[in-house]
């Protein structure tokens, strides 16, 4: 693990170049360029506001529903874009992979990091709106960077794992599309936890709450929405919400490292076609 971190550090200029490449390829040609990273979350927030607040008039106890929704949708779309972008990244960048001998996992990691860079503006918008509407930020906001890094590590770990597997099993991409949609509905993004508690049996609910993304999204909310923590029901303690993702991150990192090391020498053989 430490050697991997060392390796990433020693090839940091390559990682930087790959991220820059990703962003440049994405934003150098549109007329508005990187401004889209600010514009599209704004537009998305506008659409959600009109649909859920003005038309459907949905309300929940924990927080204003609009903020509740946004604080889940933005991190989720970062997660989804990263995974879907990185799963094909080794194959898409096969001409780079076949050019030289370098740590190949840097490519999916760079896709995740590039998506993180794009995610930052929407996060900023979210923080500002939340601070304005709820008149301030919670105390836990100070730990927000740690939460963000945790999310990043899980995403990067999954990205490396999936991208390596995809080189061998190209069905993975289609499978993932379905799984990600399912996972989104298994996470309290559009509904509150109490709703689930009410409709699921206790056993089923325990299974449900062990989904690490329940924890991740709620950690985002705890850190961003003032007063959200107090509203949390006692069956969803912060301990459960925090340790669930933490353990998951460690497991994912170990699995992806093992899979990568085993597949490393074969990646190039399968990339030929």
């Amino acid at each position: 693990m430490i050697s991997v971190i060392k390796e990433i550090y020693s090839r940091r200029s390559l990682l930087a170049e790959l991220i820059i490449k990703d962003l440049k390829v994405r934003y150098s040609i549109p007329a508005l360029g990187f401004f889209w990273a600010f514009l599209s979350p704004f537009l998305m927030a506008g659409v959600f506001y009109i649909v859920f607040i003005q038309i459907l008039k949905v309300q929940i106890e924990e927080a204003p529903f609009f903020l509740y929704l946004m604080s889940a949708v933005f991190p989720w779309s970062f997660f989804q874009n990263s995974i879907m972008g990185s799963v094909t990244s080794l194959v898409d960048n096969r001409n780079i992979v076949r050019e030289a001998n370098f740590p190949h996992y840097l490519i999916p990691v760079s896709v995740v990091l590039a998506n993180a860079v794009i995610f930052l503006p929407s996060l900023l918008i979210l923080i500002i709106i939340s601070a304005c509407v709820l008149k301030g930020l919670p105390f836990i906001f100070l730990f927000f960077p740690l939460i963000f890094i945790l999310h990043l590590v899980i995403t990067a770990g999954l990205a490396v794992l999936f991208s390596v597997l995809y080189v061998r099993w190209r069905d993975l991409k289609y499978l993932l599309e379905v799984i990600l949609i399912l996972l989104l509905y298994l996470t309290p993004a559009f509904y509150s936890l109490s709703l689930i508690k009410a409709s699921f049996s206790p056993a089923l609910f325990n299974v449900y709450i062990y989904n690490p993304f329940v924890g991740i999204l709620n950690l985002y909310r705890i850190a961003l929405l003032k007063g959200f923590y107090a509203q949390l029901p006692d069956y969803a303690t912060s301990v459960v919400l925090l340790f669930q993702p933490l353990i998951f991150a460690v497991i994912i990192l170990i699995i992806s490292t093992v899979v990568y090391l085993r597949a490393k020498n074969k990646i190039n053989d399968y990339l030929a076609y």
């Binding site: 200029s13 930087a16 170049e17 490449k21 440049k24 001409n95 780079i96 050019e99 030289a100 053989d269």
Partner: protein, 559 residues
Amino acid sequence: MKGVGKKYPRVKNTNGAFNDFWPLEGIFLSVKKGEIIGIIGRNGAGKTTLLNIIAGVVAPTKGEICINGRIKGLFNLGAGFQDELSGRENIFLNGAILGETKEELKDKLAAIIEFSELGEFIDMPLGTYSQGMRLRLGFSIVANLNFDILVIDEILAVGDILFQNKCFEKITDFKRQGKTLIITNQSAELVARLCDKAVLLDHGKLLFAGDVKEAVEKYRALLNKEQFFVGPAKASAALVEDTKKWADDRPNWGKILGTKEVVLEKVSFLGRYGRHSSAVKSGKRLRINVHFKARNNLKEPHFGVAIFRNDGVYCYGPNTAFDGYKMSRIQPGSGQFSLEYDKILLAPGGYRVSVAIWDKGETLPFIHHYAYYNLTVAGYKNINNELINIPFRFRPRHNFFGFSFFGKKFIPDLSVLSDKWGKKIEGINLIIGSFRIANLQNEEKQVFMTGSAVKFTAGLNKLPTGRKSYYCWLGIYRADGILCQGFSGAFCHKDKTIDFIFPRLGLLPGGYKVSVCVWNSKKELLAAHHGVYSFKTVFNKNDHGTVFLEHKWGLNGYE
């Protein structure tokens, strides 16, 4: 860095899960530091796979590779390049992939861009680049980075001759710096020229490793066996007809080509009195002295000096190999050679001189100063842009003394002939009745040996009487229409036959056309047979150019 890069690989590569395919099997190979290794073999022999494995891009299924030092590879053209990014951004991306830090790349950026000669295109998106430009960029990046071992796949073929030359120059530089190179190329000659050792692969098996010559011979044998015929090295035939090729090459004049394993330190021209001068008199002595300094050991070199007319017509290019000298090697250090023409039989005008030291097969010169030096030939006014100035005797039959009465050289205006090529125009009271090309024994012939004596005889009919003088003009053209020389003399009405006698017609092998025209003293054209007659020349040795000039090499101290 370290001494020896060694590999003892035994290599397998699975391709697909269902059928195991072994592009390479059981290869054992060791490479020493500072060697250039050429890998040859047919398409699909496993060359690229081997290079990939050596560079660490592909892992061997079986066996292992031991490498001391940093290794860099240059494989598929434009691989690792992003079409959306500009050339400059690609330098950073590609360099980072090859393991360089941004700071190092910033230092080398100027050198890379300069070497690639891409100029302002460096800031254009790579998608707009041609294959050749991609190659330039790719090679420039790799060549300017730090490495101990460089692996280059068969891609240099895309570059133009000049860039290839630059690459080969760089490659020999690397060798001098003690770096190890492993290259593949389809051209066996090139491999033989550049490499210290060659490896012949076929169907994934190592057939031969070792001496380059032997490997190339085995490769040729292999190709011939499989019913692909690879002919012998192209003979230097039909140069006379290749005017366009040489003329089209003029933009490259003045360039210094080759691997530059030897430097020409001084090239000087000496005129008839032994004075240094870049202007010599037509028909007089010319001596060319060349001082050089060899940086490497040159295997089987030969010297060449070529003269071009300013418009690209190849006049004469003798070399020591054609003239039968054999040199086994030149040791590093200073040396010199000279070439002396007793009579420089070129028509007055501007010329350019190439000086080269070639390798055995003339695949890639050690040094080639291509049409680098200016040479002016002075003499009479060369109005009709003639190429050569061969001595001849003009002999109207009537004239007992065998030379012209009117010593003045008659130079007709040839523009009136411009639309009459291949036509016979007869005058009202003058007809060119007959024309013979014969040797001095008066035997009519079509083919002459270069340098043999030739007599052209024109028979005139219906010549008007009266005390008037006429001029007969004989033009010898190359088959492609380049005027070699016009020969003229005056005669009077009593002369019914006129001879032009060339004691030594030193025209190099090729087809030639002859025009014969008669003019009066007011320079009006009376009759013309323009480009109607033809003859050929053959020669018992190889030589380049149009005209054979007697010459002597000064090669003191070479075996």
